[in-house]
Point group: C3
Chain length 342, copies 3
């Protein structure tokens, strides 16, 4: 595609030769002739002069010798360019002869069902949805239109996925929540998990993530929220819209997460609490209680991020601080004598 | 079901109108007419007055306007009520025509084998056990009676599951332990993992949990123990009875965990150590060595829980403590002069 | 096998009766008559006198009454002995009639394809590779020779595995990386993940591990590196040779890990940074930035391991330190009066 055409389709300003042909996409260090690249993270700005790319997507105010597309949000513009230049192949509509679709299931138009996929009794699958091989949909599950479920995804009974939901390989939606009642002898008895899971539109769920069904009622993941790999969402949790949960995050049961919340990698959240809108939790932190709207918190247990940064700086010098206290005690004892009663 | 009948079947005291009909179950905030609800966590006591439930299961001493069942352990009583009111549908006995059962395998009475399940050579499956679609049992595996293995569960060669074991979707039992011997050039050579895994009766294993086979001998999970999602149990680990391991817990190889131990979410336990009976480890803690019977420990590395709570409180004020030490030094220097030799 | 023959095949010195017959292998406490055992971890040396094993593999300088093989690296020698005494059964070559192999795929000599495995269009599988049941290879994937992929492994489109790669059950190679561009309204848009994953020769990947494909270019795991269960490797990460990543480790996108690096259990590594060769990161640590060659680091955020050990020792005594500061302030105030301005 000519750079000029790409600029028009993306709605970007074009600087330099618009007749340049771009055929592929690559990172700024790896790009070769014919590639479009981008600069969004200032960490990589030094590579701009030396790139062999044919063209670059940049933010406003960047000087560069090569042809460029200027976008307010260069990462977003480049993401759209990638979608245009490298469209993903969609499997053809139809049911693989080695799949198992229950006769009571309903498939929308142009659905693709891969080999060894299982579509259980009374399942409904919306138009144009793709079920790759080995997807399992238990009885009464519902999957919306234009979804993509990769191989090995399991959706349990009665769970509901909205439209345009993407689920990466091996994720499990609707396994029983972890609910057991302890008796007087210390033995645990299963609390039947009779609730369900609702995944709203435009959610993406990472590989090998587990979103448990509610004990009662529903576990819910809000519209547009993105979950990374190996994330654990406990029973009856509610997650709002446009949140980001990075890899290996865990949320215990009955917690409510607001809208536009970011939980960085390996964060843990206790049960039965609320994280308000627009909160950011930094990596490996642990949330023991309520978090106010818009806070950035860190540590385990988490505190205000700036306070945590200061405390961790002192933590690294604790032995020195201890020694200084010991010296103060010695000097004071030398000057004033030992404290009373010692 | 009439509330009176439910009270009798649960062995609960009935207060109020026993002729009330209960048809469903719900949380105290979500319950509508016809629902039974419960109150176990005092955090939710304020909702008792406003609930629209038909009846409630409570502990002794609660006043309420609506009909109620009084149980010493209301959560346990309610769990039993849910099992009575919402019995789970059991798939019909029989082998799906698209399953693969090796001719040398032995299936007990009324076993269910779902689509695309694989039952390998010489496998034995006990009576009434349910293998949902896509369960894989490698050669010589044994599964007891009345078990439920959800779709995507993998059980490796020679591993043994007891009776009434429940395994959630995608869990892996008996993958090779992580054992490699390093040679003089720094390269790793596999230590063949020739041991096995034993899961005792009444264990439940969460979705996408991994319980590795022993290098030699066996990895063992004791009777009645419950493991949550994404838990990692290393090779040759022994876990006692009636333990609870919450989501994303990891235990390194050859560690022994006693009976009635609770490991909260994301806890990590090092290898070759012992955690005694009745220990509680709070969330995200790391266990580097032996833990005495009955201790509650926290932190990474874990220390006594109360000491940890006090230390974390000071941690949040470390910059202030550092400033106070600096001021003491300044005042003392002003009063006494600088320390010798500086 | 006679101990004498085993000594010759392993190249070990034999001390004691070489005519002893060894039939099995076992840990030093569990070994019975006929078993070979070993002593590598000094923690278990006390069990040497009491073992019932027929023979033992030890390091130089150990006295023992029973016949023994002396090896500089007893763990490595024993690993080789186990491979000789307990050879693993390899499934017979051939494609299971219930597998699905696309007609455009190429299978090398003596490949085994298990039940319900899926080998997609244009996939190439090298000689003698074993695909257990339920392995899924997406279109254009490549798997080398002498590999072993356990049941439930998913390899996505265009990913490439070298020779002698072992993948434990349920691992996912090449799922989409976690890349989303946020727009002005706070909504996330998918960055198409058009890159791939390269797994070099002799790598082993644990159960339920997830190695994401690159956004652009490739994610790479270097020759001989071993990954444990439930490990998360983000998009465009590069891991060097002969590394060890223990259970539940997570590495965020675009990070570079050098050669011979050890990441202990539950370590988290932030994105876009470099960990140099020969680094050791202890369990549960978090890496926020560059780590120099050969360093041992600990904590979250990680600092030098020895400094961290000293700081954690003081951490446990923080309340006492705080009290001592308070006493110093009181004594100084008594002696000198309160500080100015208070």
């Amino acid at each position: 595609m000519r750079l000029r055409e790409l600029a028009e389709r993306l709605g970007c300003e074009l600087l330099g030769d618009g007749e340049v042909e771009v055929r592929g996409v690559a990172g700024i260090e790896q790009a070769g002739p014919g590639d479009l690249t981008f600069l969004a993270n200032p960490k990589y700005a030094g590579h701009l002069a030396g790139t062999r790319a044919a063209a670059v997507v940049v933010g406003p105010g960047h000087e560069a010798a090569l042809p460029r597309l200027v976008a307010k949000n260069p990462y977003l513009a480049f993401a759209r360019a990638v979608a245009l230049l490298c469209p993903s192949a969609r499997p053809a509509a139809g049911v693989h002869p080695q799949a198992h679709v229950d006769p009571t299931a309903t498939l929308g138009e142009d659905v693709h069902v891969g080999a060894f996929a299982v579509v259980g009794p009374r399942v409904r699958v919306g138009a144009r949805t793709v079920l790759r091989p080995h997807v399992v949909l238990y009885e009464d599950a519902t999957v919306g239109a234009d979804c993509l479920l990769h191989s090995g995804v399991q959706v349990r009974e009665r769970c509901r996925l909205g439209d345009r939901v993407v689920v990466q390989n091996g994720a499990v939606i609707g396994a029983d929540g972890f609910g057991f009642a302890r008796d007087g002898e210390g033995q645990y008895h299963k609390f039947p998990q009779v609730g369900t899971v609702v995944i709203e539109d435009d959610v993406e769920i990472g590989a090998l993530a587990a979103i448990d069904r509610a004990a009662l009622g529903e576990t819910r993941v809000g519209r547009g929220t993105k979950l990374d790999n190996l994330v654990q969402v406990g029973h009856s949790v509610t997650i709002g819209r446009d949140c980001v949960l990075a890899g290996q995050v865990g949320i215990a049961g009955s917690t409510r997460v607001g809208d536009r919340v970011t939980l960085a990698g390996q964060v843990g959240v206790a049960g039965h609490l609320t994280i308000s809108d627009d909160v950011i939790v930094t990596a490996q932190s642990g949330i023991p209680g309520f978090v106010e709207k818009g806070k950035i918190v860190s540590g385990s247990p988490a505190i205000d991020n700036r306070a945590w940064l200061r405390s961790t700086a002192v933590f690294a010098k604790l032995p020195e601080l201890q020694r200084r206290v010991r010296e103060l005690e010695a000097r004071l004892a030398a000057a004033l004598g030992k404290p009373d009663g010692r």
